[in-house]
């Protein structure tokens, strides 16, 4: 029964990673850049939903929506101000800029909200008790897993079926050819950042509901782990980010429970290295054959 409890906590932790990883992977897929500031948008989402709930007294759901709206705008601004001018610059320049944006957001948060952790009120409270109370699952866990699955399915449908979603895939494959189809590449990239950042806000609220201390650095570690999850699953792939996130969460939770709390992160990254040695494109990485 203990194993089941660890597994459940792993899956719900993994669901958060997966939501973040979905944002990472979409932005990477289309802009071919690693947006290292993504983790910090999570933190901003956390703060905004925190402020909306405590200062404005909004209900949890509404405060998350406010955070999503704020992060959407923030994502579009970051892309437009920091990354768009570098569209034809070497990828290293973009990467360094992303790190710069990350530090900027952290320090701006430090300036505005201070270094003291805030106590975040979980978006849902209470626990579900199963098997005569032997297994308890918090409602936050359930909400998280449900959110993650819904988001993954929605994104899959969006990129697979809709006009804009297909345009996104076209841009991700060949921006020049996409332009020749009449697709506005800049607008499509903005849209991707908007979606990714809105997801980051959701992840922020859920993350803070799990571990209710909110600090300016709250987003960094989950951000890096979600990036790992995205690579793990095959960066650029939506189901890959989902599976990568869940697996990462489960591996982390189980190694924390059965091996060592201190070593759990190392184990997670060791598994990543092994997977990448065996499957360099990640678990679901695209390996299309191309004829020329």
């Amino acid at each position: 029964m203990k194993f089941l409890a660890y597994l459940v906590s792993g899956i719900s932790l993994g669901s958060i990673y997966a939501i973040i990883a979905l944002g990472y992977t979409m932005v990477y897929g289309i802009a071919k850049m690693l947006n290292f500031a993504h983790g910090d948008v999570i933190m901003v989402g956390g703060y905004i939903s925190f402020l909306a709930a405590t200062n404005l007294g909004l209900p949890a759901l509404l405060s998350v929506l406010v955070a999503m709206a704020f992060c959407t705008v923030l994502g579009i601004l970051i892309e437009g101000l920091a990354y768009r001018p570098l569209r034809s610059a070497p990828s290293l320049a973009v990467l360094i800029t992303a790190i710069g944006v990350s530090y900027f957001l952290q320090n701006a948060a430090l300036l505005i909200f201070g270094a003291n952790p805030k106590a975040y009120t979980p978006v849902v409270s209470g626990t579900l008790k199963l098997f005569d109370g032997q297994l308890s699952i918090s409602y936050v866990s359930i909400v998280t897993v449900v959110c993650c699955v819904v988001i993954m399915l929605a994104l899959t449908a969006f990129t697979g079926k809709t006009r804009m979603g297909k345009a996104m895939r076209a841009c991700s494959e060949d921006k020049g050819a996409a332009q020749l189809m009449g697709i506005n590449v800049n607008r499509t990239i903005s849209l991707t950042f908007a979606i990714g950042s809105a997801l980051a806000a959701v992840a922020g609220a859920l993350l803070c509901s799990f571990s209710p201390t909110l600090m300016p650095t709250t987003g960094s570690m989950p951000g890096i782990k979600a990036f790992t999850a995205a690579v793990f699953g095959g960066i650029g792939s939506i189901p890959g980010a989902f599976i990568g996130g869940i697996l990462l969460g489960v591996i982390e939770a189980l190694s924390r429970a059965y091996i060592s709390t201190q070593l759990s992160n190392s184990i997670v990254f060791a598994v990543l290295i092994i997977i990448l040695l065996v499957r360099p494109a990640g678990l679901m990485g695209k390996r299309t054959q191309e004829k020329v």
């Binding site: 297909k166 895939r169 020049g176 020749l180 189809m181 506005n184 695209k286």
Partner: protein, 233 residues
């Protein structure tokens, strides 16, 4: 229909297109021929907005498009089938056609697809196949079909015969002739000068960034210089 005047295009410090002017009249097939690196593809890219000319003019149906963004130029009615086809290899054949119809709003996209399938029956058989798994010839058909989905007034084709077996080259040129007969104006870039001149109303010969000769397809096919340089005569 299309008038390009004094195009000057640079790749960094390299002056790839040097004061090139050409025009395409309504209903014509015009071809730009010349060796590798002569600036033919760059000229096409400049018309479709992927590259920019320093100075000069580009007019399409009386409207300047020299600073119009590429995605708007498609809407105006210029479709560009780029060199190397550049189909979306991870999408299905049908999705590629959907992308071709991106600028078409309120039209009947399914009927347009059927029209393309009539022209390219192979594509119909493979409509749900991932485009990257098509053969080279099929990919060329798809690239052309995709361009036709936007209802172009001017179709620009960049090396449609590249890398294709002779029988497929003939097929591609038959299709170009058929499109022309159906009323599409065509600007064709080719290294296969013989084939290109055989269907062209007019032609320009490019060498190292400049236009060195121009005339009707027949004139150029008969010209000694062209014979020597491009036709192995």
């Amino acid at each position: 229909m299309l008038k390009a005047e004094d195009l000057n295009v640079y790749y960094g410090p390299i002056h790839a297109v040097k004061g090139v002017s050409f025009e395409v009249n309504d209903g014509e097939v015009v071809t730009l021929i010349g060796a590798n690196g002569a600036g033919k593809s760059t000229s096409l890219k400049t018309v479709s907005g992927l590259m920019r000319s320093r100075g000069g003019k580009i007019e399409f149906m009386g409207k300047s498009i020299a600073s119009t963004p590429a995605h708007k130029i498609v809407e105006l009615g210029i479709a560009h089938v780029p060199e190397g086809r550049r189909i979306f290899t991870s999408m299905t054949v049908e999705e590629n056609l959907d992308m071709g119809a991106f600028t078409v709003r309120g039209g009947n996209i399914d009927a347009d697809k059927e029209r393309v399938f009539e022209q390219f029956p192979r594509l119909k058989e493979r409509r749900r196949q991932i485009a990257g798994t098509l053969s080279g010839g099929e990919q060329q058909m798809l690239a052309m079909g995709r361009a036709l989905m936007s209802h172009p007034k001017l179709l620009m084709l960049d090396e449609p015969s590249m890398g294709l077996a002779p029988i497929l080259v003939e097929q591609v040129f038959d299709i170009i002739s058929a499109l022309h007969k159906a009323g599409t104006t065509i600007l064709l870039v080719e290294q296969n000068a013989e084939m290109a001149l055989s269907i062209a109303d007019r032609a320009y010969v490019m060498e190292t960034g400049r236009i060195t000769l121009s005339g009707t397809g027949k004139e150029l096919a008969a010209s000694e210089e062209v014979q020597k340089a491009y036709l192995g005569g």
